[in-house]
Amino acid sequence: VQWRTPTLPLYLTFLSRTKTQNFCRNEYNLTGLCNRSSCPLANSQYATIREEKGRCYLYMKTIERAAFPRRLWERVLLSKNYEKALEEIDENLIYWPRFIRHKCKQRFTKITQYLIRIRKLTLKRQRKLVPLRRKIERREKRREEKALIAAQLDNAIEKELLERLKQDTYGDIYNFPIHAFDKALQQQDAESESESDAEKEEDDDEDMSKREFVEADDSDLSDFEDMDKLETSSEEEREEEEEVEKKASHSKSKGKTPLKGPARRKRPYIEIEYEEETEPTTKTKAA
């Protein structure tokens, strides 16, 4: 029996509207929609399925208990077995309107399905979503920028590489004999005589090494363009040759980003350097 009221119908109190549907927020509602046939308030004989902690219960409401709100809803625990539970629903709701019986069974099916899915999902990986906090993100970003500036990465890396070169981790790959001689010098006692002796030897060797050095550069130049102004001491002579080579490499260059160093020249041009007779003083510079 569906009851009507002259004022706002009681059943509309749980109504919540969306664009296409009207939903009923009542917990005992069978279908979830708000209409006369599926409202627990409007119907005096009603039944629902609800689940608590993984077990399903059948709730029933009859006219006889309409006066006793506390005892209004009668609760029956359904078996865990799906088919048995369906039979139990049928038993309890025998002689009840077809609509309610049908909807109860549908609801029960849906509930069991989602319970199964919950159990399956808990076995899989559970991902916890951690929200980002905007203030903290901003702070971290700012600190990172500042740390980057403070780090001076390129300088640090270069310094480290030079350190490793000094400590001979690279062995004999790079022929900087000047360097080796420097170390030998430091190891010996620094007396002027021995120094001058060493210098004379070094002079000859340096000429040799100069030539070696330049040739090695040739192959490297093909990799990098713009090896401007390789600054070792006493290389004015060498620089001239280098300029010529640089011109050649310019033509082979492939437009890569330039290395650290002064601005690159757009057009090749010859720089004329004059050699000076200042070798001894430049020697000490290197030492």
Binding site: L148, A150, L162, T169, H179, L259
Partner: protein, 250 residues
């Protein structure tokens, strides 16, 4: 006029951390000889890395993974496809992988890195930021790069530094002239990958190739990846650890 004072920087004013490693400390040396990286540093094991992502990686992450695998020699990229990490790990151990890297992504950009040393090694979880991919500079060849680890001073920093070092094979090929740098500054670890050339004995030129990113350590766990039951050696706790601007942990 008074002489110019040394300017105060955050590095100067850094709160002294009692776990800073003294180079001559024997206890530390002993620890390091017997911890999980000892077989690597004794050259008994060759690193073999597995790189993977979280579920459904997007374009940037995939490309980043590929580039990362060119940087780290002997590394393989595998797609996740929804597999649980706990099941991947035993399989990895069975196939002789030494390290596992998981790159986590959020909204199509990679933002987290889990680095796990496999045979029961420590697992480090980082937050990753400022990821820049490689843009058409020549790719790395087959050469094994060198490794530079800068500024890892405390005990924690040391263990993290050793973790990074154990990713790369022990014998770098100097002919390749490539160097991978992990530089720690104020608890941010900057990763760069360069090619260098010595122009003279006092000058070196470097050219950056390879991706770059920055990491910030979030947690260090003793065993392999296990977020629920693992034993954490260090977790970053924001409330306690971010109070002072001059206090750093790495």
């Amino acid at each position: 006029a008074p002489p110019k004072a040394v300017p105060k920087t955050i590095e100067n004013q850094r709160v002294y951390d009692e776990t800073t490693v003294d180079p001559n400390d024997e206890e530390v040396a002993f620890d390091e000889a017997t911890d999980e990286f000892a077989p690597y540093f004794n050259r008994q094991t060759v690193p073999k890395i597995l790189i993977t992502t979280s579920d459904r990686p997007r374009g940037r992450t995939v490309r980043f993974c590929e580039q990362l695998s060119t940087v780290i020699p002997n590394s393989h990229v595998y797609y996740r496809r929804g597999l649980a990490l706990k099941r991947i790990i035993p399989q990895c151990i069975a196939r002789d992988f030494t390290d596992l890297i998981v790159i986590n992504e959020d909204r199509k950009i990679p933002n987290g890195l889990v680095l796990s040393h496999l045979p029961e090694g420590p697992t480090a979880h980082f937050r990753m930021s400022s990821v820049r991919l490689r843009k058409e500079i020549k790719r790395k060849g087959k050469n094994v790069p060198e490794v530079i680890l800068n500024n890892f001073t405390t005990r924690l920093g040391h263990s993290v530094g050793r973790m990074f070092a154990s990713l790369f094979p022990h014998d770098p090929q100097f002919i390749g002239r490539q160097v991978a740098t992990f530089h720690n500054q104020r608890d941010y670890i900057f990763f760069r990958f360069h090619r260098y050339i010595f122009k003279s004995e006092k000058k070196v030129g470097i050219q950056e190739l390879g991706p770059r990113f920055t990491l910030k350590l979030r947690s260090l766990q003793k065993g392999t990846f296990d977020s629920k039951f693992g034993e954490y050696e260090w977790i970053h706790k924001r409330r306690e650890m971010d109070t002072s601007r001059r206090k750093f942990h790495l």
